[in-house]
């Protein structure tokens, strides 16, 4: 072999090795663990903290309201649908309080008359129904056919 051939081969090999070295530092460790992505990313997303708990958790401390709710017309409406995400409230109920909104507009979000809603869903005329009183004065929000409010 002539000297020039060896030189060219050396340059080529050096370049290849350099590429591999740089690549190994630039590509994150778990890239390609499963496929063409960073495996750690899956674990990072799995470890994000949940914000919503579940009605069964609320039962531990609010059993009276839970029983009323689970037997009433609002049993399909999750507690947190009305009180907001309450995962941190269940961990530390005194410091983090759940939201309470007893306004007419709030009930109206679901019950205001709207022609786009399914016809069999109970809707009311917000202008006339209840004569402008707060809904919770008459309806118990946890079981709306229980009258007399909270």
């Amino acid at each position: 072999m002539r000297k020039i051939h060896i030189r060219v081969a050396m340059v080529y090999i050096t370049a290849a090795i350099l590429f591999l070295i740089i690549r190994s530092f630039v590509v994150p460790p778990t890239f390609g663990e499963y496929d063409w992505y960073r495996g750690d990313s899956v674990r990072e997303i799995m470890e994000l903290p949940p914000q919503h708990a579940n009605a069964t958790v609320c039962k531990d401390c609010h059993s009276e309201r839970y029983d009323l709710w689970s037997g009433g017309a609002h049993s399909t409406v999750s507690c947190e649908s009305c009180h907001g995400p309450s995962y941190s409230h269940t961990k530390d109920p005194i410091i983090v309080s759940a939201n309470v909104d007893n306004s007419r507009e709030f009930c109206g979000l679901c019950h205001a008359q709207n022609p786009s809603r399914p016809a069999d869903f109970p809707q009311i005329d917000m202008d006339t129904h209840g004569n402008g009183n707060l809904c919770v004065v008459c309806h118990n929000p946890h079981s709306p056919w229980v009258f007399g409010g909270e």
């Binding site: 949940p50 649908s81 709207n114 022609p115």
Partner: protein
């Protein structure tokens, strides 16, 4: 001066360390407590039940640190209205349905109208994953398309590629620092479903218009829904094989 011999020696040493660094601790599963090969998820939207209250949009934003102001949505609700004497439907989504839908047309003028909740379809053949130049978005074994917020370079290719408009660029004033300037999308609340919880929007829906289930679990109620209803998907002609199935929508809904 460095002799060639010395240089080559150093090179050999470096490549040895590099090989050591890149040696992967190959694990079959992301974590010990969750086996993703035993799950394959699916989502059913029953549009005939949706009342357009927007609780799902709100729950999603609060669960996933999505900015509360308009135009950033992982899920949103659209309203379709067919007026009497008109062929094409009128479609709107005021603030994604976050504050509900004010009445805009008189009931007598409306031929037909309903709400359609939208979210990422977690396509089986996701165009967004194909176009990512850096491998920052991918499909997991249990069938969910995720974004690696640390690796995404914010080039917006995937946002363009999605035929459903399910992706958006996380704004630079968003609450989650590490996600700023990257593409963000619905994950079916991957952090919840891998713990056995339901996605936040499903949890929040008061009428059961959103159903989530595991196709690999034979006792899941999702099988009953898929078997007993007439099912369609959005934009089937795109060949993306969506995994969100709709009940009760017209072909004009896309």
């Amino acid at each position: 001066m460095i002799t060639r011999r010395k240089f080559l020696k150093a090179l050999g040493l470096l490549s040895a360390t590099a090989a050591g660094v890149s040696a992967k601790t190959s694990r079959a599963e992301p974590t010990e407590y969750y086996d993703w090969s035993k799950h394959y998820y699916s989502f059913v939207v029953d549009s005939t039940k949706c009342i357009g209250c927007g609780r799902c949009v709100r729950a999603c934003k609060l669960e996933n640190e999505v900015p509360l102001e308009p135009f950033f949505f992982r899920t949103w609700v659209e309203r379709y209205i067919w007026l009497k004497g008109e062929e094409e439907p009128y479609v709107d989504s005021p603030n994604g349905g976050f504050e509900g839908f004010p009445v805009i047309y008189d009931e007598k003028a409306i031929r037909k109208s309903y709400f359609v909740p939208k979210l990422c379809n977690q396509c089986d053949r996701p165009p967004c994953v194909q176009v990512c130049p850096v491998g920052a978005t991918y499909k997991t074994e249990d069938g969910v398309v995720l974004v690696d917020e640390k690796y995404c370079i914010g080039c917006r290719y995937c946002i363009q590629a999605c035929p459903y408009g399910a992706r958006y660029l996380y704004p630079f004033n968003g609450p989650r620092k590490s996600r700023r300037g990257t593409a963000d999308k619905c994950t079916w609340c991957y952090h919840r479903i891998t713990k056995g919880l339901k996605p936040a929007c499903v949890e929040a829906c008061p009428v059961g218009a959103r159903k989530f289930g595991d196709l690999k679990d034979p006792n899941d109620e999702i099988h009953k829904l898929l078997d007993e209803n007439r099912i369609s998907v959005l934009k089937p002609e795109q060949g993306t094989k969506p995994k969100v199935f709709y009940i009760g929508i017209d072909t004009e809904v896309r």
